[in-house]
């Protein structure tokens, strides 16, 4: 079902002007940045910089050699000039590397950057009950609340550090959900990833606070390739949130991350994303290319993985957070709001792979297109032979603003077990003049009215976000839609 939608009637919903991207500033900080270019030598240098164990270098090189032989995927409903992978710098770090355990040694400019973004790294100023790992370009600059967490037995640290402190754990799980050869960008990430978060929740532990990673690209012409690995042992629970921003630049920058989640028996992982990379200007100049592979494995029986994403940034989004439901009775969920404005393009959705018996999955996708934005939902629900009594419910709703945007839906279903029960609902609607007039007649201004309608449209997804972030997400949506109607 593809519906390039033109709405002649609602001409009054004119797409207008630009919005301010308030995270678009650059931090002037001395960096140690590699020359652009990618070969085995660069990979050896990254690995050496990080003083990695030998197995990591081998892992990277193996991935790189595979990547060289892989074709760049072109099946997504997105259009962009070919990326020159030799023009990208694959490592950048602030020169004065802080000691991770002391805030005094963190460059004040870095602290300022995060404060400007509303992410204070001083623990006493932090939001209650949220631990943050801040990743600046290629390295993690600060992880908060580590002591509190370690008391509970929770490991939350940069993955580069985990490779020093618990290399066996990393080795055991790295690439176990997203193998190096999985896809073009995952292979590239495996070869060059520089940092990211590592989370380990021991058996029976309910993580005492929300964990959060904040990603920031600062340096010009660098790519960010972060790697996140979360392991929830039997009966444990963790809620993790990531946020992302980047300076406003005329060049496109590449972000190719890999996230792997493993939920053992009776464990639950809730993973939320508020993605606000620089989206480019109203003419489509600049912006982040966001090619991300996220997958969770419900390894044990009764395990549950839930993805919630609010995607408002990036020039291009290519992202399909997925669940492999291996354990019996395991549950996968995907809640998504994707907004494209101006010339933004998003091709996003999920894959739910049902392997175990009585597995169930829920997909709620809300796509909002404004300006010349194109929004595509692409989803796969696959029921394998052994997955008796699998259930899926999918709902894909698109909201259109103006007459120059597009919404597209590509739901795929592969069912190999006759006991499966699948439901799919899809709607496409637009903000009607009637709704707008109704709210204006009650005293609301145009933008407040639009934002209220859009927030209502996204409600099913917002209520899945941790409370502190649901408010943020609503505000973000409001800012992203500024000038979407005239």
């Amino acid at each position: 079902m593809s519906a390039p939608l033109v709405d002649e009637k609602n001409k009054d919903l004119k797409e207008l002007v630009k919005r301010e991207y308030k995270e678009g500033f650059v931090t002037d900080i001395e960096s140690d940045t590699f020359e652009p270019g990618l070969d085995e030598d660069v990979i050896r240098r990254i690995s050496a910089k990080k003083e990695e164990p030998e197995f990591m270098l081998e892992y990277r090189l193996k991935a790189f050699r595979r990547w060289l032989k892989m074709p760049e995927p072109d099946w997504a409903h997105i259009d962009y000039p070919k990326i020159d992978f030799q023009a990208i710098a694959y490592f950048s770090a602030p020169k004065e590397m802080p000691q991770l355990d002391s805030l005094d040694q963190v460059d004040p400019k870095l602290l300022e950057t995060y404060a400007k973004l509303g992410i204070p790294l001083e623990e006493q100023k932090m939001m209650n009950n949220v631990a943050v790992d801040a990743v600046f370009d290629s390295v993690s600059v600060r992880t908060t609340f580590r002591e509190t967490l370690s008391k509970a037995g929770v490991i939350f640290m940069p993955i580069s550090e985990a490779l020093q402190e618990c290399p066996e754990l990393v080795k055991q799980y790295l690439g176990s959900v997203v193998p190096t050869q999985d896809n073009y960008y995952a292979a590239l990430n495996a070869a060059v990833f520089s940092d990211g978060s590592f989370v380990y929740i021991p058996k029976g532990v309910r993580c005492p606070m929300e964990l959060s990673t904040y990603f920031r690209i600062n340096e010009m012409n660098t790519g960010q390739f972060e790697r996140t690995l979360i392991i929830a042992e039997e009966g444990s629970y963790v809620s993790y949130l990531e946020g992302c921003t980047a300076p406003q630049r005329d060049e496109n920058q590449l972000h190719a991350a890999v996230v792997e989640l493993v939920a053992h028996k009776d464990a639950e992982i809730k993973y939320s994303t508020v993605q606000n990379w620089y989206p480019g200007d109203e003419n489509g100049k600049g912006g982040i290319y966001n090619f991300v592979t996220k997958r969770g494995l419900c390894k044990g029986d009764n395990s549950k993985i839930s993805w919630t994403q609010v995607e408002t940034g990036s020039a291009i989004t290519w992202k399909y957070p997925s669940c492999v439901l291996q354990g019996d009775n395991s549950v996968g969920e995907f809640y998504s709001v994707a907004l494209t404005h101006n010339k933004q393009q998003a091709d996003t959705g999920t894959k739910m792979i049902h392997m175990g018996k009585n597995t169930s999955s829920t997909i709620i996708s809300k796509g909002i297109s404004a300006g010349h934005g194109h929004n595509t939902y692409r989803g796969l629900v696959k029921i394998l032979k052994g997955a008796d009594n699998a259930r899926n419910f999918s709902q894909c709703d698109s909201l259109l603003m103006g007459d120059r945007c597009g919404a597209h839906t590509f739901p795929y279903m592969e069912v190999q077990n006759p006991s499966a029960n699948l439901e799919h609902e899809a709607t496409t609607s637009k903000i009607s003049e009637d709704q707008l007039f109704y709210l204006k007649q009650r005293g609301l201004g145009e933008e407040a009215a639009v934002s209220m309608i859009v927030n209502g449209f996204c409600k099913d997804v917002f209520r899945e976000l941790p409370m502190e972030f649901a408010v943020e997400a609503q505000k973000l949506l409001e800012v992203s839609l500024e000038g979407a109607v005239g």
């Binding site: 109704y438 007649q441 005293g443 927030n455």
Partner: protein, 258 residues
């Protein structure tokens, strides 16, 4: 309060209002009746400031201001309320959230602080009781899954909350059974005051049994062809529209068919 002078308005180039003159003083209730297609709804939409209507001549003065210069939301903030004939659904937005945002937007317009959450809750519950609306409806999405009668009651609830100076009720009686009509009328009557004016747009006299107007106007073919007191409505009920000069046969047929 409201002074409409020789108002002409068109939709898509077609003239619908052809010179309306009407004055509504504070505290007065005016009923505008007329056959279908006579321009009744157009009049209320033009006053409320809906897009798509072009005023080609005449003026509308409201509390001494040129109303036509104001945006729809400004007119709302200035105290004009339109109870819609077909209230729209706004999925995912609760009745309460919408009303609170509306109230605060109006308060902000007048330089007032936002209403306190506790005060708001108290007020909305009290007003919900006025229109016999169950409190659980307040948490439901605006008009979503509401029956015709519930939607109309919801309009009156909103009116009671926003306390307008001038209320336009567009076919508020349409689609109501007799019980719902009584509830709605009770709500409207409770809001009558010497400072608040109302314009009821209706096709039938029935509503006027419950909300007794001070004046009745008959609108036909874009013009007010007859004005009188409430007895005019009764006369219309008895004789139909055809006896009034200025109403042609086509309109009469349309009125009878509907």
């Amino acid at each position: 309060m409201l002074k409409v002078t020789n108002l002409h308005a068109s939709v898509d180039g077609k003239e619908i209002l052809k010179g309306i003159t009407l004055e509504v003083k504070p505290g007065e209730v005016h009923a505008i009746m007329g056959p279908n297609g006579s321009g009744k709804s157009t009049l209320s939409n033009v006053i409320a400031g809906r897009d798509g209507y072009e005023v080609t001549a005449g003026s509308v003065e409201y509390l001494g201001k040129d109303l036509l210069e104001l945006e729809a939301e400004e007119r709302a903030c200035e105290g004009i309320f339109l109870a819609f004939q077909y209230p729209v659904e706004i999925p995912g937005v609760s009745n309460m959230a919408m009303l609170k945002a509306a109230m605060n937007s109006i308060r902000k317009y007048h330089g007032q602080d936002e209403i306190k959450a506790g005060d708001f809750l108290k007020l909305i519950r009290q007003k919900a009781d006025l229109v016999e609306m169950k409190h659980e409806f307040l948490k439901r999405a605006v008009n979503e899954g509401f029956s015709g009668g519930e939607k109309k009651r919801n309009e009156i609830l909103q009116m009671a909350m926003l306390e307008p100076k001038l209320a336009l009720l567009d076919e508020t009686d349409s689609g109501l059974d007799i019980d719902a009509l009584k509830i709605v009328s009770h709500g409207v009557n409770a809001l009558r005051s010497p400072e608040r004016s109302m314009v009821l747009v209706t096709h039938y006299q029935r509503l006027l049994d419950y909300i007794v107007p001070d004046y009745v106007h008959v609108l036909a073919n874009g013009q007010i062809v007859k004005s009188g007191d409430k007895s005019l409505a009764l006369e219309l009920e008895a004789k139909g529209y055809s006896w009034i000069e200025g109403i042609d046969d086509n309109q009469t047929t349309a009125a009878q068919a509907s």
